[in-house]
Symmetry: C2
Subunit: 344 residues, 2 copies
Amino acid sequence: MTRKATIGDVAKRAKVSPTAVSRWLNGGLELPETTGERIRTAVRELDYQPHAQARRLSKGKAEAIGIVVPDISNAFFALLAGEAERVAVASGHDVMIWSSRNRIERELACFDRLRAGYIDGLLLITNHEDDGRLASRIRSMPGRVVIIDEDVVGGDSAPRFFVENETGGYEATKHLLAYGHRRIAHIGGPKGVMSAIERAQGWRRAMTEAGITPDPSWHIRTEYEVEPATRDAEQLFALDPPPTAIFAGSDAVALGVMTTARRKGINIPRDISLVGFDGMPINDLFGPPLTSIAQPIDDLGRLGAERLIAMINGEKFDGTPTRLPVQLVARGSVAAPLKEKVSG
Amino acid sequence: MTRKATIGDVAKRAKVSPTAVSRWLNGGLELPETTGERIRTAVRELDYQPHAQARRLSKGKAEAIGIVVPDISNAFFALLAGEAERVAVASGHDVMIWSSRNRIERELACFDRLRAGYIDGLLLITNHEDDGRLASRIRSMPGRVVIIDEDVVGGDSAPRFFVENETGGYEATKHLLAYGHRRIAHIGGPKGVMSAIERAQGWRRAMTEAGITPDPSWHIRTEYEVEPATRDAEQLFALDPPPTAIFAGSDAVALGVMTTARRKGINIPRDISLVGFDGMPINDLFGPPLTSIAQPIDDLGRLGAERLIAMINGEKFDGTPTRLPVQLVARGSVAAPLKEKVSG
DNA sequence: ACGCTTTACTAAAGCGCTTTACAAAGAACT
DNA sequence: AGTTCTTTGTAAAGCGCTTTAGTAAAGCGT
């Protein structure tokens, strides 16, 4: 196994000093064409590639950022991370994507990597309740963290980008009310998670305005994931009387509802109407296509990454959160409720 | 901005040498409890975290691997990468995930990072035709690259894990034939891509065995993506007579077909039957649920990552490819063809 | 012929860690 | 009492690069 060529090897071959090679390669030194050509040839012949760790150690910069998502195999996060990655790569940064699987230890490990200089900045997407450790890490790394899609209590030293969750919940519920639904349940995100709280508030406000007091059993808090939502849907279907419509706190939750409905032979939207939240492009292909509150996913990813990189480059920002608008995308999962059998 | 604590600061505070700190932290030195306690305290008080680049430079190892996928926002690759990541993280490696967007330059850039020592190994997923550059890089980095889900011509110095593509294509087509279809089209992957070639061979073999000579217009080569497939489906629907069934080379392609069908009011499976390839869990939720050839996605990701890490740790392997079995998962997108109107 | 500027570089330090080689002090053995 | 072994460390080199400070030589004006 031949040793990899170092800058010294190149220098020797080009008959100059390593300094010259380094400075010339990095554009900090003008050299006459003959010398430049010698270096160029040496680099090519030795197939020289600067050693990444050495370069980064020396420069004191990692030229990389990290993106933490709850689960990269969730399409929503994959889309978000994909857009952020595109922006970061375009500005010359390497990107590490980590799945936290909602374990706070895994998230904290990413902060360790930030402190270790392994990355210059962190784009954080988290959707579980923080016990305070996350907030404290965020405060301890000013100018290095951007939070997107969610808020973290006490994380207000970092820029945050998220959407009009309350409005989204309100619009989703209004949409269902407009079709004549009254018993509208909500399967939302976990306790202590800002987006979940706000979306539920929107739902509650729309219900109240319509003169309906939601039964406590109509509000279920769950993970924003498919699997747990299938069980929550079962629980709702078992109610007597069951709800005629469900506002799901995420498209993944809506998928869980659809799975259970299909399994039980419950037809959407004939037997029950469904509205999701996220607005994934793929919603169009489900049976039926899923009506949903669309988040500007690309904008979230792009703005977050841009802000992070600007901060890494020394720009200062305060922690004012940016709220992006949401939009109802009506597809095929909502219909008028079945006429109730008039009892007795 | 206070400077970050270095190993020297810890050493000073604990009244020992940096050597002692380093060796004690890394388990290479037994120390009496009193000294150990002093170091432990110093580390805690200074919130010390070893500098990643320095450590890696010094050790000559990156303790990280890279995963290259065509597009991380494609659910199939996200699943594959997610599983591989899980394995790599469990063995103490950092993971970088890159989207190549099928640009060979982006893939080559990942090889540069490998040569630069930024990562110790590369898990490569590529699904476009190689012009030879990929194969040459693979050869130049023996024991550092594992290829999964696909084959690369000339990449036979690296371990490869992929599936029984020919059998998959054959089974998919047999399934459609069994329902009585005769005009079965195939929208497959791009020219020069091994999996596409093999899946098409399976399709052709099943057709031939059934005594059918596929019309050239029934075979379309495309990207394994949704968007281009929508146009290919249009092309097939415009044929006279149109095919009564389509074998799609990937689930993404099948999604493209479904999109176009929905747009044109063509009902699946009544008007046309459809079989995909990949077996994504989400297929169950489409309208109709998509029949597909399931790949063992988790196994591909896991085996690939395990093999790569074993090689990084010095184990030797030859380039014998490993073929994993596929399985037809029948859902709801296949039915018997409509009775043909008898002309005249 | 002398100083001054420009060109074309180089020497050496330093980034923060690990590792190899070695040493002082005390314990145990002869 | 002298020797050896064990314990408890340390000094210094080195990983491969960048950067700061500086210099030798050539060109130029007078």
